[in-house]
């Protein structure tokens, strides 16, 4: 290994952190390997603020931010960006609105200026709102025909009843149709603001200079009366097996999701659950699930498990796409594998393999500015400590087989799962 590459893991020494007077946290790290810079971050403004009548409002707002501001039209914003090969976009999830962009480092001031303009001064022009509404409605019509999307949606609805995680962030046709310009402006006015906002910036710029540039663009933002996000309601525990099917005619493949709850990202048992998931449905050719459903039985092109652990209670899901006539057979194989998993846990070799994979692949996730900025935001958001990646190898190695099987049993009860399927 080349001497100068050894310190490629982010650490407190090279992540420069600063909190601006208005509450915005800035995290910066230099990378002079290419003349580019990447910014990414999040702020309050997720679907957690929505009412059931206006599902999809948070996403609608975030997509409108760049469709007209006090100084720019939709076309002029994108003209500025695209002329210099830069990009910027907004999105929203349950807890937060988020943004990401990149440019050549010479164009960073332009990028930050447009970020500020979109956040501070969106005007929600009516014509743009209608164009976007037509796009969202087309997206919903396509979702309605997508077996994978519909199985996921069905799964979430039944895992998280009466909970923000159980509602689709892109809404329904009726709720999207009911959203008015007034709704958009009010949502932005009440919920967006600098408090709780975090900006990550990685690229060919000294971290202190990067922070100064962010401060210049965003330091003047102040919002009075920025609303606090409501607390998440309690979860309803699963008391039985729930099986639901969403019918879509004329499709040659069905999708399935079998799953249950998972820990928060910052839970102490996260690493054990994550390694359990790796053995179950990730490692190599998609772990044990891939082995039984794809390799041994040839039933599916994709079959894997995934763990969604974030700021709230997560989900642990097995997913596959199969021929409709093989749906029950695939579900039986998955059920048997889950039972074996919680009964016998993982072998010494399986655990060692996944641990080695986690440690070995770490440098690969920091290859690009985008990978680095999301890693830094992640450790900050979940309060894992800026030295997390320095401690990472120890954290992975400290997980034992007992930890893994206990973690699996804590979350997976094969008699109490949500089984959601979509297809003919």
């Amino acid at each position: 290994m080349n001497a100068k590459t050894i310190n490629s893991l982010p650490s407190p020494e090279d992540i420069y952190q600063s909190v601006l007077p208005n509450g915005i946290t800035v995290l910066a790290r230099a990378n002079f390997n290419s003349p580019a810079v990447n910014i990414s971050g999040y702020l309050s403004g997720g679907s957690i603020f929505e009412t059931d009548e206006k599902l999809g409002l948070a996403g609608f707002v975030s997509s409108m931010l760049m469709r007209g501001t006090q100084r720019y039209t939709f076309d002029s914003i994108y003209n500025e960006l695209e002329t210099v090969g830069a990009s910027l976009g907004f999105n929203s999830g349950v807890h937060n609105a988020s943004f990401g962009g990149r440019s050549l480092v010479e164009d960073l001031p332009l990028l930050l200026n447009l970020l500020a303009e979109a956040l501070f001064h969106p005007t929600f022009p009516k014509a743009e709102m209608e164009r976007l509404r037509a796009q969202i409605l087309t997206g919903l019509a396509l979702r309605e025909q997508d077996t994978s999307d519909m199985a996921d949606m069905l799964f979430e609805r039944h895992l998280y009843p009466d909970h923000p995680y159980g509602k689709p962030t892109d809404g329904y046709v009726e709720t999207i149709q009911s959203i008015t310009r007034k709704d958009l402006a009010a949502f932005h006015r009440l919920n967006y603001g600098p408090r709780g906002m975090v900006v990550g910036i990685v690229g060919a710029i000294q971290p202190k200079k990067a922070v100064e540039a962010v401060a210049k663009a965003l330091g003047g933002w102040s919002v009075s009366g920025q609303k606090e996000p409501p607390a998440l309601p309690p979860l309803k525990p699963l008391r039985k097996m729930i099986r639901k099917h969403h019918r879509i005619e004329g499709k040659s493949q069905s999708d399935l999701v079998v799953g249950t709850f998972a820990p928060y990202r910052k839970s102490p048992d996260f690493m054990a659950v994550s390694l359990a998931n790796s053995v179950l449905g990730q490692f190599g050719m998609m772990g044990r699930i891939g082995h039984v459903v794809r390799e041994k039985s040839g039933l599916a092109y994709y079959a894997y498990s995934s763990l969604n652990a974030g700021a709230g209670p997560g989900s642990w899901e097995v997913s596959a796409g199969v021929n409709p006539k093989n749906l029950n057979k695939a579900l039986e194989l998955i059920d048997a594998e889950l039972r074996r998993f919680v009964k016998s846990g993982v072998t010494k070799q399986e655990l060692a393999d996944s641990q080695a994979n986690y440690i070995g692949r770490l440098p690969l996730s920091f290859e690009s500015n985008g990978g680095m900025v999301s890693a830094i935001l992640n450790i900050h958001r979940h309060q894992l400590g800026m030295d997390y990646y320095q401690r990472y190898e120890g954290l992975v190695r400290s997980v034992t087989r007992d930890d893994v099987v206990e973690a699996a049993r804590r979350y997976i009860n094969p008699d109490r799962m949500i089984v959601a399927t979509a297809g003919p």
């Binding site: 590459t5 695209e82 090969g85 087309t138 309605e144 879509i248």
Partner: protein, 420 residues
């Protein structure tokens, strides 16, 4: 951007390309075989892609189930893909572990087993992969567009292959395809990352040079005759959304018109890898509320392929109005030279996209190999300079030459409703 690479040809004809990059403790290794879906005769469509799947099913030294775990255990990322013109396998590994990837690729170049049981189970996996694609209206439309665009040239079928062939291809067909094309003189190895070039070449020689060369058949390339009149088609299926594709025959990547056409593409549909909300077609079609989305792209291929436009229509509208506007925008480019500023813009966009790509070591090894399949690495290193040489007159000339209505295929996906 560093342009210096080392090129070596082994005694058996295998080409090796190396680029040292010491920004992260990572090495990416790609092996490319000059075989893709265009080398498949009728009855054997999909065989290149299926062979690619079988390459993960093990050799004697790296049996199935050991192979994938060996790479993953070292923290490597690996995959493979089949295109129209090539099949490629890559491993991106922590630098100290790259030897495993090289040993694996040297071994499976000639020693993959193709166990009949594994062939049988992979048959259903690939059929399932195709069924997943068939769920998508755009796949259904694209497949019909390809068939209509190429009557003679083997670009006429999808890479995954036709269902009939996925049912009938045998283990021996696959094995014979493998042994024919997977020979060192038909392969290029591209390596980028944290290594010493001299040491790496020595190791590559040790592993690959002893593999005997083979005789590779000439590539299947029956030239597509010129079309004499527009073709229109429709595909029906479930859903509520209408899609239209318009496909024009386009020249190959080494053609003298390639760079003016890249600029033309940037003007009409935006630069590859960036948002495209201020390109001419977005402004004319989406901003004006005619369609929900419009995109378009060419492909850098060995033989002439296509420029394809895709439009997603607004609910309850017919494709004709949108096609008329598309035609009018093309007409503008044919009638009037594009402003020089618009061309400079396309060059700056490409410069930015190149800078983003150079952050990533996997990407750098990819481009070395990719360009060697269609031309050579100078295609990549001189790309921006060649783009900068394009003049407004060039763009006008190629717009006139290639966008001819009587050469195109126009197809629409007509939804039959939710169907429930």
């Amino acid at each position: 951007m560093s342009k210096s690479i080392t090129k070596v040809t082994l005694k058996n004809g295998m080409k090796v390309m190396l680029k040292e990059i010491h920004t992260a403790p990572i090495i990416s290794s790609w092996i490319w075989y000059k075989v893709g879906s265009r080398d498949e005769p009728t009855g054997k469509t999909g065989i290149s892609h299926w062979t690619e799947h079988m390459m993960f099913k093990g050799t004697k030294k790296f049996p199935n189930g050991i192979l994938d775990k060996a790479i993953s255990r070292e923290g490597g990322r690996w995959n493979a893909s089949t295109s129209r013109d090539s099949t490629r396998y890559y491993e991106t590994m922590p630098a100290a572990k790259i030897d495993l990837a090289l040993r694996l690729e040297a071994d499976r170049m000639t020693k993959s087993i193709f166990d009949p049981k594994e062939v049988a189970s992979e048959r259903t996996v690939i059929i399932s992969e195709r069924e997943g694609s068939e769920n998508e209206p755009m796949f259904q439309l694209s497949e019909s567009m390809l068939h209509a665009s190429f009557r003679v040239h083997p670009y006429q079928h999808e890479i995954i292959g036709d269902m009939a062939d996925l049912h009938s291809i045998t283990r021996d067909d696959l094995y014979s395809h493998y042994r024919t094309y997977y020979v060192p003189n038909n392969a290029v190895l591209s390596l980028a990352g944290d290594f010493d070039t001299k040491i790496m070449i020595k190791r590559v020689r040790e592993l690959f040079e002893k593999i005997p060369a083979g005789s590779v058949p000439p590539r299947l390339a029956r030239p597509e005759p010129e079309r004499k009149g527009e073709v229109r088609l429709t595909v029906e299926g479930p859903g509520e959304t209408v899609f239209t594709q318009v496909a024009y025959p386009f020249p190959n990547a080494t053609h003298e018109d390639y760079f003016p056409l890249q600029v033309l593409e940037s003007l009409l549909n935006g630069a590859s890898g960036l948002s495209y909300k201020t390109c001419r077609l977005y402004r004319a079609l989406v901003d004006k509320g005619v369609v929900v989305d419009v995109s378009g792209w060419s492909e850098s291929t060995i033989d002439p392929f296509l420029y394809r436009f895709v439009m997603v229509h607004r609910p309850n509208t017919k494709p004709e109005q949108a096609i008329k506007i598309l035609d009018a925008e093309i007409q503008k480019l044919q009638d009037t030279p594009a402003p020089a500023a618009e061309i400079h813009r396309a060059v700056k966009q490409a410069r930015a996209v190149f800078a983003y790509g150079s952050e990533n070591i996997t990407n750098q090894a990819f481009w070395m190999g990719y360009t060697s399949m269609i031309s050579d690495y100078s295609f990549y290193t001189s790309y921006l300079d060649n783009l900068a040489k394009v003049t407004p007159k060039d763009v006008q000339r190629v717009a006139q030459k290639y966008f001819q209505p009587n050469k195109r295929v126009v197809g629409s996906y007509i939804p039959t409703g939710k169907g429930s």
